[in-house]
């Protein structure tokens, strides 16, 4: 079974500053994918960034980047130059498991960006 742990229920950051959201996971699979999704108050889940486990290079999407530590099973999200629109719930997820490809999420981190 795969599990995802997000140890920070809530975080806040000042506009334009940098914040890092933590995520650890457990899996027995060798091939898997990791995701960060954002859920603003509109409740629409939006893909922020994804990482393939067999790739060493950390994924980057504009102001969003990850620190993927495979041995430690850690997958943190760094948001640079935080903007008010980044205020949302952030969910870390893992998919894998051979043909199943199930997607399991952590409990989420509520991020507030303050002006």
């Amino acid at each position: 079974a795969q599990t995802v742990t997000q140890s920070q229920p809530e975080m806040s950051v000042q506009e334009a500053e940098t914040v890092t959201l933590s995520c650890t996971y457990d899996t027995s699979e060798n091939n898997y994918y990791l995701f960060w999704y954002k859920q603003p108050p509109s409740r629409q889940m939006i893909l922020v960034i994804r990482q393939e486990a067999y790739k060493q290079q950390n994924a980057t999407e504009n102001r969003f980047s990850v620190n993927f530590q495979k041995a430690a099973k850690s997958f943190s999200l760094k948001i640079s130059d935080s903007q008010l629109g980044d205020t949302a719930m952030y969910f870390c997820g893992i998919s894998g498991g051979g043909s199943q490809g199930n997607l399991i999420f952590g409990k989420g981190t509520k991020l507030s960006v303050k002006p």
């Binding site: 629409q44 889940m45 199943q100 490809g101 997607l103 999420f105």
Partner: protein, 113 residues
């Protein structure tokens, strides 16, 4: 359609009634997922369909919950004899594969009174 469509967007039902929630995935997406999100909580996996394979029902919380996917496209999540604890947002997602990612619908907010 361009995205994952869920209907209705909101549903209020009386305790004990049955409800059906619909998910119309992106055309061609072989995988379809249902999740439940209680107020302020994370996404609880319910059920997963992949092509013609038997669905993974391991997340269904009780035998009052069931889901079907007809013709590899539209899916219906049915909750029988609804209880107040069933009140939540029910999210559907579809995917072409893990490497591509998952696209979510806007969800159905179910309120059981």
């Amino acid at each position: 359609g361009a995205g994952v469509s869920q209907s209705p967007s909101n549903k209020v039902t009386e305790k004990g009634k049955d409800v059906e929630l619909r998910c119309d995935p992106i055309s061609g997406h072989t995988a379809l997922y249902w999740y439940r999100q209680s107020l302020g909580q994370g996404l609880e996996f319910l059920i997963y369909f992949q092509g013609n394979s038997a669905p993974d029902k391991s997340g269904l919380p009780s035998d009052r919950f069931s889901a079907e996917r007809t013709g590899g496209s539209v899916s219906t999540l049915t909750i029988q004899r609804t209880q107040q604890e069933d009140s939540a947002v029910y999210l559907c997602a579809s995917s072409l594969g893990q490497a591509v990612g998952y696209t979510f619908g806007s969800g159905t907010r179910l309120t059981v009174v």
